[in-house]
Every structure is written in structure tokens, then in C-alpha cells.
């Protein structure tokens, strides 16, 4: 597998976002769906499990950076790396807790067990009134205090776009590292036949947890890049918005589950369809994207890239991971 095509795509997008700040927000919005698809793909695409509580990981990342910025703006620039690290750490911890318990369950049971996680964490924050509770964290003035006004605005515009793109980039790297290592073989076996995998000497829980935590950390980074850094606010109703997992799954399935390039293609198509439908038939976006998703899953069960790969000669297939 040669990961250059997706990596170069992300690098070019990052260059455009960096050197043409007027396009940064647009690029961030598009790449958000690609990177979301990438992150979801690392868990769902590689293990075949579906997590309906997934958005909670994005929320943890958003709150990690949000909380550090809100309560400790005096840290200055250190607040950014510290906040990102805290966000990623909280995502990984939540994944370890949820996965450690629920990943012992099979497919559908796992999906059911995770449905409550997102709402549960959200209502914990609102009900217990922690981290700003239902009112959320408004970070504009804190970010100005920490970074200075101009830098804060640049970070919100260009910085967040670059970080969203970097998340997608890292997801490709993670996918590559997993697939060329023992973990790739283990996950391929688990996805295809978990019982056979066990008998072959594979500890399924271990590798599912590895994919789950990797995927969660990237989702956390994405949440941190998008809400506290990009929008300068963290509202529970936004960061726990459950439809994002459906978006992520749609992007992944349209592009091709388990493929590396798939979420980039899927994300681009997804956003194009939503934008065009939003212009022509406002309010019908979800309906039409649902139709697109169903059509893809029925006609191209391996997704666009997955189907393309099937028809490429092995030499070329390497280049379209």
C-alpha cells in the first residue's frame, strides 16, 4: 500500500488553506467531513463495528481545548497544545472505558450499548452544570486574552482549517501504520470472522480497542479543531449533535469502508450533494443524502474507491489504498 495519493491531497488542501486564508473556512468545512469519515473509518471500516456514541469523542476533544482556554487563558500560547492534548486524552480515556466494557459484545449488541454514551455524557455536563453546563463555553474574549486578538482570529480562521486537515492527514498515517503491522492482519481477521480469529491466536478485544482508541483520539482532535478553535465556542447541543456519526458513516460508505482514499472522495461528494441540494431544494439535504447513501450501498457495496480498487490491476491498486 502506497499512501501518497491521500497524503498529497491533504497537503495541497493545507497549502491552499494556509496561503489563501479567504478560502480557509470553506476548505475547513469540506475537509471536516473527509476527516470525520477518515476517523470513523479507522474503527468502523477496520473492525466492522458501528458506534452510535461516537460523537462523544469529538465532544471530549472540543471540551478539552475549551476548558483549558476558558479557565486558564493566562497560559498564553501554551493553552493551545495543552488544550489539544487534554482533549485527545479525554477522548482516549472515554474510548478506553466504553470500549473496555462494550467491545466484548458483538456487532449489533455493541452498537446498542453505545447509543446511550453520547446522550449520557451530554446530560451529565448539562445536568451537573460542569464546564459551563447547558450554556456552554464562549471563548472569544479568552482566546483574545491567551493569543492576542489578531493571532486568535488567524487561528480561528486558518489555524483551525489546517488542524482539521492535519487530522485527516494523521488518520491516513494511522491507517497506513495499522495496515502494514500485525494489527492490520488481526483486524482483517476480526472483521471477516471473529471466532476464526480467536482460534488463530488473535485477542479480538485488544485489537478492537486499539482501533477504537486511535479513532477516538482523531475524533477528539477534530472536535477541538472545529469548535473551540474554529468557532470560539463549545455548546453541548453542537458538540454532541448525534447526526455527525451518521455523516461520518455516510462519507465512509460512499467512499468505501476500509479504504484509505475512500473518505476523501466520499467527503467531497457528500458536501457537493448537500450544497447543491441546499441551493435547489432547501430543507431536503438529509433526504437526498439518504437516497445517495442507499443507492451507493445497494449498487456499490464497497463504495466508490472500494469498487474502483476491485477493477484496477494489482500494481495500480497499491496506489489507490
Amino acid at each position: 500500500m502506497k499512501p501518497w495519493l491521500p497524503l498529497v491531497t491533504y497537503l495541497s488542501l493545507a497549502a491552499v488553506a494556509f496561503f489563501m486564508p479567504e478560502y480557509s473556512k470553506t476548505i475547513a468545512t469540506i475537509v471536516f467531513f473527509m476527516a470525520l469519515g477518515q476517523a470513523v473509518n479507522i474503527f468502523v471500516g477496520l473492525t466492522g463495528y458501528v458506534d452510535f456514541g461516537y460523537v462523544a469523542f469529538m465532544a471530549m476533544g472540543a471540551y478539552g481545548l475549551g476548558v483549558v482556554l476558558y479557565y486558564m487563558p493566562q497560559l498564553g500560547f501554551a493553552a493551545l497544545p495543552l488544550g489539544l492534548a487534554l482533549g485527545v486524552l479525554m477522548s482516549i480515556l472515554l474510548a478506553a472505558v466504553v470500549g473496555g466494557v462494550a467491545l466484548r459484545l458483538r456487532g449489533a449488541y455493541f452498537a446498542i450499548a453505545t447509543i446511550g454514551v453520547n446522550e449520557g455524557v451530554k446530560h451529565l455536563i448539562i445536568g451537573a452544570n460542569i464546564w459551563g453546563g447547558g450554556a456552554g463555553l464562549i471563548l472569544g474574549s479568552r482566546a483574545f486574552e491567551a493569543f492576542g486578538r489578531d493571532t486568535a482570529l488567524w487561528l480561528a480562521n486558518v489555524g483551525s482549517a489546517v488542524l482539521v486537515i492535519a487530522t485527516g492527514f494523521m488518520a491516513v498515517v494511522a491507517m497506513y501504520l495499522i495496515q502494514v503491522s500485525k494489527a492490520g492482519y488481526a483486524l482483517a481477521a476480526i472483521r471477516q470472522d471473529e471466532d476464526a480469529a480467536k482460534v488463530m491466536g488473535i485477542n479480538p478485544t485488544k485489537y478492537k480497542l486499539l482501533a477504537f482508541m486511535t479513532s477516538a483520539s482523531l475524533a477528539g482532535l477534530l472536535g477541538a479543531a472545529y469548535y473551540p478553535l474554529g468557532n470560539l465556542q463549545v455548546f453541548p447541543e453542537n458538540v454532541f449533535f448525534i447526526e455527525y456519526i451518521l455523516d461520518g458513516l455516510a462519507v465512509m460508505f460512499i467512499g468505501g469502508a476500509g479504504t484509505v482514499t475512500g473518505p476523501i472522495v466520499g467527503g467531497a461528494l457528500y458536501i457537493i450533494v448537500r450544497t447543491v441540494v441546499g441551493e435547489l431544494l432547501p430543507g431536503y439535504q438529509v433526504f437526498v443524502t439518504a437516497l445517495v447513501l442507499m443507492t451507493t450501498v445497494i449498487l456499490l457495496p464497497r463504495g466508490i474507491v472500494g469498487t474502483l480498487r476491485l477493477h484496477l490491476p494489482p500494481k495500480l491498486r497499491e496506489w489507490l489504498p
Binding site: 482483517a188 491466536g201 485477542n203
Partner: protein
């Protein structure tokens, strides 16, 4: 020291004693056939040895170590490999990757040497030419060979063969019997093979036969003697068997 000791194993499903106090021993390089009609508890016993089920009573001992409570993946690493009754390949992976996966996790190889071990195992069973095909595209008898190669590549001490001759033609069975004998003799691997109907194969393949009926061990001994025993013939075959 025996490679495998199964000591008074009992496995119940509700009120049913699917395996009822079965004991057996197996040495390196020895082939034991467990014979019994459908529902006699053969596969349950295999699942207890394999770790899929934990027995209510009794112990499973591999090379002097009590493995009764170990999960299947740890037993695989200790040298217990299994071929399923219905072959369970990874259909979307290549034949080579299927076997290499067994080598990596069961055999403890790194990825590079796992591929070498996989190629060696594939040529041993005669499937090397198909190594780049997807496993899902193989014919049924080839899937049987794939499972055997996958088991072999994981450096087993004990092969558990669950009805591996079911669904094969008589000539394919003959080839399989020769292959299993070769594995036992050349590689000094013990094999425990479940057989429901292929009695002719049992006599050629096994050093010993153990007959199960309603979860209990009825008899054990040289295949030719055991299968002709009037008691076995009566409870199992229903009429005298002549070879």
C-alpha cells in the same frame, strides 16, 4: 509426558451433559480419531480442548500445564490449532494472507517470516499456486487444505480436526488421510480428528480410535478392533462393519 491430557471433563448445557466425564491422552505424532454419531458430544469435547467452552468439571492439560481456564487465542499460541467443520476462511484476504495471519498470531512469527512460513505450509498441502487468489474464490476441497495450511503455519503441537473429511469425494479423502499421516509422522504433530461416517478413513489415518456415545466414552483402542467391537457396532453403526 503426554502432550495432551483430558481428565474427567464434564460440559453441561442446562440439564444435558453433552460431555460426561471423558478422559483421554495424546502423545506427539499420534493421530487419535474420535468417532461417534451425530450428537454424541464430539464437537463439544473439541470445543472444550480448544477453549471455546469452559468445562464444569475436569481439566485440560497441555505439556503438563493446566490450560482449562485459558481463552482460545492463548491456547492457539501454546500450540493448539484447529480446522473447522465448515471451513472458515477470511474470504476477502488472499490465501497467503490467510495462512500468514495464522503464522503471525498462532505461530508468533513477525510479518516477514510469517509470509515465508505461510508459503512453506501452502506448498506442503499443495496450495502454493493459489497463494495470490482471494480465499473466497477457492473450491470447497481447497478451503479444507487452506485451513490445514493455516493450522500448520502456526507451529502447532496439536491439530484439532473437526470433521475435515465431510463433503470431500473418496479420492480427496484418500489424499487427506495421507496428508494427515504425513504431518503426524514428519512434523511430529499430534492430531485429534473427529469422524462421524468415514470409517474406512479412520482405520487408515488413526493410531487409536475413541468412541463416544451420549457424551460418554464407550471404548478406546486400535481402530480396527474398536470399530468391529459388537458393542460399538450395536450402539453406533447398527449393523456389523466389514473392511
Amino acid at each position: 509426558m503426554s502432550l495432551l491430557i483430558v481428565d474427567g471433563v464434564v460440559k453441561k448445557f442446562g440439564g444435558l451433559r453433552a460431555v460426561d466425564g471423558v478422559s483421554l491422552t495424546l502423545d506427539r505424532g499420534e493421530v487419535l480419531a474420535i468417532v461417534g454419531p451425530n450428537g454424541s458430544g464430539k464437537t463439544t469435547l473439541l470445543n472444550v480442548i480448544n477453549g471455546v467452552y469452559k468445562p464444569e468439571e475436569g481439566r485440560v492439560i497441555l505439556e503438563g500445564r493446566d490450560i482449562t481456564k485459558l481463552p482460545p487465542y492463548l491456547r492457539a499460541r501454546l500450540g493448539i490449532s484447529r480446522a473447522f467443520q465448515v471451513p472458515r476462511p477470511l474470504p476477502d484476504s488472499t490465501v497467503l494472507d490467510n495462512v500468514a495471519t495464522g503464522a503471525i498470531f498462532g505461530g508468533g512469527y513477525d510479518i516477514h517470516s510469517a509470509k515465508e512460513a505461510a508459503e512453506e505450509a501452502l506448498s506442503y498441502v499443495g496450495l502454493w499456486e493459489k497463494r495470490h487468489q482471494l480465499a473466497g474464490a477457492l473450491a470447497f476441497s481447497e478451503l479444507r487444505l487452506l485451513e490445514l495450511a493455516r493450522a500448520l503455519a502456526s507451529r502447532p503441537k496439536l491439530l484439532l480436526l473437526d470433521e475435515v473429511m465431510a463433503g470431500l469425494s473418496p479420492s480427496e479423502i484418500d489424499r487427506f488421510v495421507v496428508l494427515i499421516r504425513r504431518i503426524a509422522e514428519e512434523k511430529n504433530i499430534a492430531a485429534l480428528s473427529l469422524v462421524e461416517h468415514r470409517m474406512r478413513a479412520v482405520v487408515k489415518m488413526a493410531d487409536r480410535a475413541l468412541v463416544m456415545h451420549q457424551g460418554k466414552k464407550i471404548m478406546e483402542g486400535p481402530p480396527g478392533v474398536v470399530l468391529n467391537d459388537p458393542k460399538v457396532v450395536e450402539i453406533y453403526l447398527g449393523r456389523p462393519w466389514r473392511f
